[in-house]
């Protein structure tokens, strides 16, 4: 395997990396395998990699002790990624990369990205520990992901799990009293090592067995990012994704409001992947309880929404430049005029006497219509979801 990036510039860790390479050649052995006294195979850990700084450092700290580390990244559908932002034309200068993959490449480790969209529905729809400030079920989410990591560990013969959690970092899932909840409810128990705050926790199995040196782990706590940034600097890491809190749409008030609206309109808490992807795109307006408009905000979003034209009634502005508008719900023919008058607000004909549209029903039938755009004060604020 060819390693690139940071590891090549860190000779002492590159040596450890070479040791890791051996583990790829070691015959598959169960989790509780006995060490060969003469040539002990390196222990193998699986790290939860979000793409942020904490999980990157946690994996690195353990790699630096000669442990073979591979990464796991879970895709719930709610992950904030540069690509999602890059749908919008105005944001196309943002790096178009998956941060978890980028971290894995920097650390020279394999990364397994796992689709948990379906399983995650139970976590979000019925969180045992409730929601945080918005619709973020952080404690249930962390327990779920560590539990998935435990399953992966057992299936792949790894020894322990690493997370980048720090005591007191997050108000729900990373408190002194909730860290044990994650360990217990995930079933990982003392196979779960948190290298960044391990010195503040009871010793875990990897520490007690000497697979890692507890003295070379850390005792970070609190919301300050300074200790992590100092550690990153110590390792010569200058570039990393913006840390903590910004990786999940469910923590975002605006997104949560749109998701609540979706559930309310459906009369039940239910969603599919396309539903939650569309909540990330466009302006959402609900002028009537039975339908909602999704109006693209720029050419990038129009391009993205075009992929959904076959599934939704929609409006294409023909007389002026303007965004594509999807209509979600049981829209009747009479609703098109109101929808078009709203959509006209967001095109270049917003001040024109008349704006024309091609209106396409969900069944594919079409008609042309011309409307007078609504003025700003004719669009009540509470139509905006």
């Amino acid at each position: 395997m060819h390693y690139t990036g940071w590891f090549q510039e860190q000779p002492q860790l590159a040596a450890a990396r070479c040791h890791h390479e051996l583990s790829g050649l070691v015959e598959f052995v169960p989790m509780k395998r006995a060490l060969n006294e003469h040539c002990p195979a390196p222990r193998r850990a699986v790290a939860l990699i979000s793409g942020g700084l904490d999980s990157m450092l946690a994996a690195l700290v353990v790699q630096a002790q000669g442990v073979h580390v591979e990464g796991l990244n879970f895709f719930t559908g709610f992950c904030v990624e540069g690509h999602t932002h890059a749908i919008r034309s105005t944001r196309q200068k943002m790096p178009r990369r998956n941060n978890a993959l980028w971290v894995a490449e920097q650390l020279g480790m394999r990364l397994h990205i796992i689709d948990v969209i379906e399983e995650y529905k139970d976590v979000l729809l019925k969180p045992r520990h409730g929601y945080g400030a918005n619709l973020n079920p952080c404690l249930d989410c962390k327990s779920f992901m560590v539990g998935k990591a435990r399953q992966w560990l057992e299936q792949n013969g790894f020894d322990f799990i690493i997370t980048g959690e720090v005591v007191g970092q997050r108000p729900m899932s990373q408190r002194r009293d909730t860290l044990p909840v994650v360990a217990r409810e995930s079933g990982a128990h003392d196979l779960l090592l948190r290298p960044l705050c391990a010195r503040l926790q009871p010793p875990t199995l990897p520490e007690r067995e000497g697979w890692v040196d507890r003295e070379r782990l850390y005792g970070f706590s609190g919301r300050s990012r300074k200790p992590q940034m100092a550690l990153a600097a110590e390792y010569g890491i200058e570039e990393y994704a913006q840390p903590a809190g910004g990786c999940c749409f469910l923590t975002d008030a605006s997104y949560a409001s749109k998701l609540r609206d979706l559930w309310q309109a459906r009369g039940e808490k239910r969603y599919e992947l396309d539903d939650i992807m569309l909540l990330k795109v466009g302006r959402h307006l609900r002028p009537r309880p039975h339908f909602k408009l999704i109006v693209a905000r720029d050419a990038g979003e129009t391009r993205y929404l075009q992929g959904y034209r076959g599934h939704f009634a929609h409006l294409e502005m023909t007389s002026h430049g303007g965004p594509l508008t999807l209509i979600e719900g049981e829209v009747a023919a009479g609703d098109f005029e109101l929808a078009a008058r709203i959509a006209a607000r967001f095109g270049q004909g917003r001040n024109a006497d008349s704006v024309s549209f091609r209106a396409v029903m969900a069944d594919g039938s079409e008609r042309l219509l011309s409307v007078v755009p609504l003025s700003p004060n004719q669009v009540p604020r509470d139509w905006y979801v």
Partner: protein, 77 residues
């Protein structure tokens, strides 16, 4: 050695990578997989995924509305 295609058009990151990863697991070393995507981020992510997992990118094509990435399956998966 055979050539296969994978359509991930319409999917946003990281789904094109996940679908590629899952498809690669079913192929043999040396097989060629041509992945079609519409998320331009795939131009970075699929090659990155290939590098850390021992696969070889043979070609990337950045078209107007579609990205095409051709890779050869390595021995690791």
């Amino acid at each position: 050695m055979s050539e296969y295609t994978l359509d991930t058009t319409g999917l946003l990151c990281p789904l094109p990578v996940i679908r590629t990863q899952d498809r690669a697991r079913t192929l043999a070393p040396g097989d060629v997989l041509v992945v079609h995507c519409t998320d331009p981020g795939a131009l970075n992510d699929i090659p990155a995924w290939c590098r850390i997992n021992g696969h070889q990118v043979l070609e990337t094509v950045d078209g107007d509305n579609e990205v095409k990435i051709t890779l050869r399956i390595g021995a690791i998966d």
